[in-house]
Amino acid sequence: MEFQTTILSIIIITITMALLLFYINKKLREYNPLEKPKGIVLLVIMFGQMIDKMVKEKTNERVAKYLTPYIMSVVAYIFLSNIAGLFSLETPTSNYSVTLVLGALTCILIEVYSFKERGTKGYIKSWFEPLAPFVLVNILSKISTLLSLSLRLFGNILSGGILMSVIYQMLGSISKMIPLIGNLNVVGIIIAPVLHFYFDLFSGIMQAYIFITLTISFIGKELPNQ
């Protein structure tokens, strides 16, 4: 089995996130609720409120209590891994295994909530709806949810990474035409940051947002209407 280079960046991202969470936890424990929040505490509180509002809009209070922490950790992980390209790491989400696991977690959650809401009998019945032969269609629709969720994230981030490397090569060959300092890729230093802003920051934030919006609304679909 060959060693995949993204594994190194996955480990780095995981350690960074764990350290960050420990730090935030320590800050939040020291925080006095009567004072005005500031710095990282304010940021975390605003982020938590935003996700909580999003989850409560689509689901109910009972589900939101358990779903919000999961969504928060997923969005933090996807965001950190999408912007890893800025720190010259290989983005973990451009490895299909990572996005497949994230998509599979969402699919398992959908099934768990569907099971909880309908009970054993109703859950088994939901596979054979509206008629018994439709079981094949139902199985296919569950697989396609998994595939579309994971491939969307994977395709977007991978295409961004490949485009960036192609652009770097092109800019490198252009700057070779400049005498004396040509080998330093001078043109790349000027033009690449703008593209990094789009491909890494913007599409990274956008994809994390889309992933959690889809997760929340797929789970909300399984719950009864309030």
Partner: protein
Amino acid sequence: MERALLGFAAALCVCGGCVTGIMEGKVAVQAVESIGKNPDAADKIQSMAIIGAAISETCAIYCLLVAFLIIFILGA
């Protein structure tokens, strides 16, 4: 010769993205129009529009993935 054909096939694959681009623009246009008509429902319309755009984008991403597979796996 073979490599040229593979490149041509990959380029043809990505053509599927054209229609997706037009249609995703349509999603945005409709969302803006309906927010203009009914500004109170902006939050709901925004999330619906993003979900719609994301789901219709899947088609384009499949095209792109097939193109990548052709270039990097068949062409390698």
